[in-house]
Symmetry: C2
Subunit: 318 residues, 2 copies
């Protein structure tokens, strides 16, 4: 009855950003569309002292013998203390007895991974086949992970980055140039970034839109993964209403804490869930000239998928 | 950044059912009444495979440097496997950075403790001063803990127990006689138990009332701690409407998953919260002949209180 306690280091060596992990996260969306998932709304706590916030997510998947509870935090004063803003851990429970099987002290690594892999799943089905340049708004941890994950699904030649803090963007370009072995260029404006990119990922905690609809061009795909709170928004609502294909990881969550907040029925009624596409029930992009948009808010089922996969990988090694 | 991992054994030796722990749980209710607590609704997941259920509770208390997230499960097929139905663990997070400070692998011990201590807090303020006999409905873990905790607040002479399963009631009587060094008698019926007791605790997962209003007598106090789900109910609603003093740990939760579910406005409007009494804003029992009732559904703030207390005790010892 004593659970396995797993460190971040062990998890980093067991689970990497690769095709297997991508398939696991893609399955998670399919399970959701197939009605196999029991996923209560996110439990959110505001912590005045930080100030910070904690989100607790969970999902039980019919057919899996265990499931995860994920506790993720974002504390905005941490940077001043030289600490990362975000942290987190997961608990894996038996779906048969409720007992705790494992405590995954991942410090948010599995969340970073499954979040980036969801971006790759969206791009796999929605981005144009031919992507010359990827654009990324923001220069933090997810800006790195997302672009790395995109390598699993598209063979792009260069990266454009824009961040409000120019020196962070420069630092990102330097780091990622080495990591990707591709040109990484700092864009002067978000508009210039959009014009130069076919596949764009927004990774900011913005409360005002960072992308405007008059900057959109045919053949563009945008994944917005920053918003996960009623006060956050990265996209001009006009981008959603004019998109040819509009997708959310989960509509009920996107209208509450994502980009589809306050969207008209005319918008939400034609929005798809990503799992409808991964399961094959609906097509993704059907034309190279379409504009496609995917809003990712982050789902408990992704946590259950990556956590149970991580545990199975650790067990294989023992 | 590596959290302390604490075992059940360490927690059992650090925190016991005593006056200090009682004061900690009493404080939790007071903090709630003083508006110091941010406590989102319980996150509940039904797990078909078990079948079972998992409840996740949390509460941040203004002024505390850390807070708990508690994951508690109840899986109904465990008994057949020779395993306990309930399990659980707590995570303690820093309220300043969001980082995980400790993982308390208590297997539900701290929950059992804080639940029983809440019963003692209710009895302290609501039971008559003179209690000859305590009555308990149910013969499980909480039936034991609740009666033990009541020793902290009332000097009673004997215990009556009723359980649908007679042999479990007999076993309870045998165990508790030794433990309490007092007579423990099996009652033939709930009615007989009520007639013979001044302070009664119901500890069942009943879905139909186990206590009827025509069995109530002047001077009785009842604590109902079993119901924590919309389908559960231990008390005839008439008991609530006729009580002289009606109290819930938290009204908004009791009307959703506790005994006050479906109660009329006339009932809910005169119900108090336990913290209003512990804080001194409202009196508890004011007359030995009053009938008093307290519904306990279990609050995240109790978890934060007991978990942070447990950690402070462990730190003192190091």
């Amino acid at each position: 009855m004593t659970p396995l306690v797993v460190t971040e280091e062990q998890l980093r060596s067991a689970v990497r950003m690769d095709a297997d992990a991508l398939a696991v996260v893609e399955d998670a969306f399919t399970w959701l569309a197939q009605g196999k998932v029991t996923m209560p709304p996110v439990l959110h706590v505001d912590v005045e002292a930080g100030p910070g916030e904690v989100d607790i997510k969970t999902a039980y998947v019919d057919g899996l013998t265990s499931f995860a509870v994920k506790v993720a935090s974002g504390f905005f004063g941490n940077a001043k203390l030289g600490l990362p803003t975000g942290s987190g851990m997961m608990i894996v429970l038996s779906a048969e007895t409720g007992f705790c099987e494992a405590v995954l002290l991942d410090n948010g690594y599995l969340t970073d991974l499954r979040t980036a892999l969801a971006g790759a799943v969206a791009a796999k089905h929605l981005a144009p086949d031919a992507v010359d340049a990827v654009g990324v708004i923001g220069a933090g941890v997810q800006a790195r992970y997302q672009v790395e994950a995109l390598q699993l699904v598209r063979d792009f030649n260069s990266v454009n980055v824009f961040a409000r803090n120019r020196s962070q963007a420069e630092e990102y370009a330097t780091d990622m140039r080495d990591r990707l072995e591709k040109p990484v260029v700092v864009s002067e404006t978000p508009a210039a970034l959009l014009a130069a990119s076919q596949l764009v990922v927004t990774t900011t905690p913005a409360r005002e839109p960072v992308l405007r609809s008059d900057w959109i061009h045919p053949g563009l795909h945008i994944t917005a993964m920053g918003s996960d709170h009623p006060a956050k928004r990265e996209l001009d609502p006009q981008i959603l209403s004019s998109a040819d294909v509009l997708v959310a990881d989960r509509l009920s969550q996107s209208v509450r804490i994502g980009e589809l907040r306050d969207a008209d029925d005319s918008v939400t009624s034609r929005a798809l869930e990503l799992g409808e596409i991964t399961s094959g029930a609906e097509p993704g992009r059907t034309d190279p000239e379409q504009v496609t948009v995917c809003d990712l808010t982050g789902l408990g089922v992704q946590d259950t998928a990556i956590a149970t996969y991580a545990l199975s990988r650790l067990e294989e090694r023992r």
